[in-house]
């Protein structure tokens, strides 16, 4: 009797595993970043289209800020642009646009065409800093607290849901000092 049921149980187990696997497969695009709860990687980058002007990690200490990696070549960055713009309008958090692997003219033209939601735009043309941030797709967004620690990362298109459920509550928390 048991020998009849066992293969069936084994088969059912395989089917269950298949569906569990299929569900997990979706998640591989949103891998946990090892940078969460770590200090922001050091950077000292030129400000976009402002020759001679630079901004470093140290100069951003003391306030929460968002680092948004984007490029004019990136289609999804266009898709999330309205959300970033909406967020900028709230004036809730300082937004650093990290323009990476791009060209100055293309980046400037992009911001002119679609609007510039960033408080400051930095250029990482050789992608060195993006590697230090562990960026492997665009866009990617990091939330940094006033002490310079990364508290949240979002990979891919920023949606209003993420802004409302993940970013804004964390920013509010920082400001209330907890």
């Amino acid at each position: 009797m048991i020998s009849r049921i066992l293969p069936l149980l084994g088969f059912i187990l395989l089917v269950v595993l298949l569906f569990v696997g299929l569900n997990i497969a979706d998640r591989k695009t949103n891998l946990p970043s090892p940078l969460i709860d770590k200090p922001v990687p050091a950077f000292d980058l030129p400000v976009l289209a402002s020759p001679g002007q630079k901004m470093s990690r140290e100069s951003l200490l003391g306030k929460p800020y968002l680092v948004n990696f984007w490029g004019s070549w990136c289609i999804t960055c266009r898709a999330e642009h309205p959300v970033v713009t909406e967020l900028a309008k709230l004036n809730a958090v300082y937004i650093v646009g990290m323009n990476f692997r791009d060209e100055t003219e293309d980046a400037v033209a992009w911001l002119k065409k679609w609007g510039n939601p960033y408080d400051v735009s930095l250029t990482d043309f050789d992608g060195r800093v993006s590697i230090d941030f562990g960026v492997y797709a665009a866009p990617e967004t990091f939330l940094v607290d006033p002490s310079g620690t990364i508290v949240f990362k979002h990979l891919g298109e920023l949606t209003w849901e993420v802004v409302e459920n993940e970013i804004l509550p964390r920013v509010a928390n920082m400001e209330s000092g907890s």
């Binding site: 090892p34 070549w73 990136c74 791009d102 492997y136 797709a137």
Partner: protein
């Protein structure tokens, strides 16, 4: 029919254009200080995952990020970094997922031990079945003369 083909063509061209538009550094052939160093480079490039196309390693992938990471590995090798230091550099940024060979640690015990458990379990079941059948074999000839 025709229109849909044109649409697909335009779509393909636009999508590929945006990928080609990524800034790509001048591809210089990599120079190694020794044969041994080149072998280490090839070994590392095979063991590190390209995160853009997640089922390819750095050696196989032609993605922009893979180019950059290969250059990074090369630079660290020339600077005299050890294989472990280079792997740590990658893991610190991209997580354990960047390693094709997962490290043996608390959250991967199941992964590493499951094959052994399955093998032993299979061997045990096989043993039980063989024993059962062997028992049958003995009883059959004994019954025969009686029939």
């Amino acid at each position: 029919m025709k229109l849909s083909k044109i649409f697909i063509l335009v779509l393909t061209l636009t999508l590929s254009a945006s990928v080609l538009a990524q800034r790509s550094p001048v591809q210089e052939p990599m120079v190694f200080q020794s044969q041994q160093q080149e072998e280490r480079f090839n070994q590392l490039a095979r063991e590190l995952r390209c995160l853009v196309c997640q089922n390819q390693n750095l050696a196989d992938s032609d993605a922009q990020l893979a180019h950059d990471l290969r250059a990074e590995v090369h630079e660290m090798l020339v600077a005299g970094k050890s294989d472990d230091e280079i792997k740590t550099f990658m893991v610190d940024r991209y997580g354990d997922f960047v390693l094709y060979r997962p490290p043996v640690q608390e959250n991967t015990y199941l992964l590493w031990l499951a094959p052994l458990v399955l093998l032993l379990g299979g061997a045990f079941i096989l043993r039980v079945i063989i024993k059962k059948r062997a028992a049958l074999l003995v009883t059959v000839p004994n019954d025969e003369p009686g029939n």
